[in-house]
């Protein structure tokens, strides 16, 4: 994944404040935190000389679309499908106690946040993830149980 410095390099670096932030660096940080998107910087969006950067930044955040609300990213190359995160994820346990909660195949995948497909974990229904929504908490169930750091929140 990228970091704020890399994003900053792609911005106009004029500190014009049109985005509502005090500087381009502050805007980059807001991008990382997913508070703002590339569209919120008018020069970047409108001026043709920034076209390439605009598309690149938009693309970067598209990659993790579907996970953007919670910022959950799965590194598919690292994940080997052990299922630790699936079995430890609190909403998974609550919604399917005798299936994944007990180490078994899911009885109903529709309400699960994490499932294993073709040997790799897939994140879905992120509305159920404890990191999401009004009562969100900094759950780290899927991070501490992963042997290879394949799940990350950005």
């Amino acid at each position: 994944m990228t970091n704020a410095m890399e994003l900053y390099q792609m911005l106009p670096k004029t500190n014009c404040k049109k985005c509502g932030k005090t500087s381009c660096m502050a805007f980059a940080v807001a991008l990382m935190a997913r508070e703002l998107t590339a569209e919120d910087c008018p020069p970047l969006k409108e001026e043709s000389k920034y076209k390439e950067s605009y598309e690149k930044i938009s693309g970067l955040f598209k990659q993790s679309e579907g996970a953007t609300e919670t910022g959950l990213i799965v590194h598919e190359d690292l994940c080997f499908g052990c299922g630790n995160c699936v079995v430890a994820c609190p909403p998974n346990v609550a919604n399917d106690p005798y299936g994944v909660g007990s180490g078994n195949a899911p009885t109903n995948v529709n309400k699960l946040v994490l499932v294993i497909e073709d040997g790799i974990v897939k994140a879905q229904n992120l509305g159920e993830c404890r990191r999401f929504g009004k009562n969100k908490i900094l759950c780290n169930g899927c991070i501490v149980t992963c042997p290879v750091e394949a799940i990350e929140f950005v």
Binding site: G83, V87, S102, G103, I116, I120, P147
Partner: protein
């Protein structure tokens, strides 16, 4: 709706909750299995292959050549069978009797001694389901299931809820890793990881036994006694403990007596069971089947209706001493897995290789028979690492013969 589950034969866990989508006998999608299992299930190829001296031949020619090799040999070696069904293993024993063969499997240089001891009731044992339902303390010793048996922790040993473990792993379970390196499993165990030097297992066992008895634990490598005492305290408090014994521990012990002493000491203070971390999906099945038949788990020689047993009948020793004059290798690749100094003697005798995959052994074999992948393209029964029998059906169909069918044909041709 009742779901249609398959069994994965990718490792000794024999996970029985795998959903598969397939079309025209090709596996498209696999659910719940780990990456190892998915690769195993998608391995299938279509065409049958029979080869002599690496040249394609028909089935009848390959079978009769294989039978001729066994017939002409005075002491053929039959080896492998860790990825064959119980039914195939029984046939192989019959074949070994008929051909006056030496019969052995990989357990003679890995976990055989442990399985033998537990079949002689020297350890208290339990099933993986008991572990899930009851275990509060688990030790992974010289084992890294996160790599070798990827779903071990999630399906049985650490993370799942069980009938008597409803509050979850953080509150109700303690996982401990004892190993020479910080493995992926050790990482999960966090502060309960005890790193010992290579070969330091026997001393660590003695130190732990001392600590359990309230004495000061000492090791020549100065492992902090305080930490061993802490470990002993955790173990003493276990209501249902399990020791998962891996290759790392077995390779470092000259014999299993220290392990027997440790289990006895643990059971003097608490309640501890042992499960061997069997890698191949049915190595334990081979050990049990042969044990029922002969009283031994591996390394036997059949002759005139009698059976002899000893290290000299293991694959390593019999190849070293050049006492075997032909070999039938089933689902194993000793040319890659044994040290060169031993395996090179295989190149001097006629070898029949039966394997779903091409291997170094199959490429150097006189006769090669490409068999169906057991558990994916052919069914049967097997014995899980904890001794539980598991039946399975094939996931897809193939034109290739199962190893069971090939052995039957060789028997008939003999």
């Amino acid at each position: 709706m009742e779901k249609n589950y398959y069994v994965c034969t990718g490792c000794g866990m024999l996970c029985d909750d795998i959903e598969v989508e397939s079309e025209k006998n090709i596996v498209n999608k696999v659910y719940t299995a780990c990456r190892v299992g998915v690769a195993h299930m998608k391995e299938g190829k279509e065409s049958a292959a029979f080869r002599i001296d690496n040249k394609p031949v028909d089935e009848a020619t390959a079978i009769s050549e294989a039978a001729a090799i066994l017939k002409n040999a005075k002491n053929p070696l039959i080896f492998g069978l860790g990825t064959s069904t119980n039914e195939t293993q029984k046939l192989a024993i019959e074949l070994a009797k008929k051909a006056s063969a030496t019969l052995d499997d990989t357990s003679s240089f890995c976990l055989g001694r442990v399985v033998e001891a537990l079949l002689h009731n020297r350890f208290k044992v339990c099933t993986l389901d008991d572990v899930r339902n009851k275990a509060d303390v688990t030790i992974f010793w010289g084992a890294d299931p996160s790599d070798s048996h990827p779903r071990h922790l999630s399906k049985h040993s650490y993370f799942p809820r069980g009938t008597e473990k409803q509050r979850g792993w953080e509150e109700e379970r303690t996982a401990i890793a004892i190993d020479v390196r910080k493995s992926h499993t050790a990482k999960i165990c966090g502060n309960h990881f005890f790193q010992i030097p290579p070969g330091g297992d026997a001393e660590f066992i003695d130190a732990l036994i001392a600590a359990l008895a309230g004495k000061l634990p000492k090791t020549s490598y100065n492992f902090p006694p305080k930490r061993i005492l802490e470990l002993a305290n955790i173990l003493k408090g276990a209501k249902f403990g399990v020791v998962f014994v891996g290759l790392g521990l077995i390779y470092s012990l000259e014999n299993i007596e220290p392990l027997v002493r440790l289990m006895d000491a643990l059971n003097g203070k608490a309640n501890f069971h042992l499960i061997p971390m069997v890698g191949h999906y049915n190595m334990r099945g081979f050990n049990e089947t042969l044990f029922e038949e002969t009283g031994y788990v591996n390394s036997v020689k059949f002759e005139d209706g009698t059976v002899k047993h000893g290290p000299e009948y293991s694959i390593v020793e019999s190849l070293k001493a050049k006492t075997v004059d032909a070999a039938l290798i089933i689902g194993s690749d000793p040319l890659s897995s044994l040290p060169r100094s031993v395996s090179k003697n295989l190149l001097e005798i006629p070898v029949i290789s039966m394997d779903p995959c091409e291997t170094l052994t199959s490429r150097n074999a006189k006769v090669y028979i490409n068999t169906a992948i057991s558990g994916v393209e052919s069914g049967g029964s097997a014995t899980r690492m904890d001794g539980v029998k598991v039946n399975f059906k094939p996931v897809v169909e193939t034109t290739r013969l199962s190893d069971e069918a090939v052995l039957k044909k060789i028997m008939e041709a003999l």
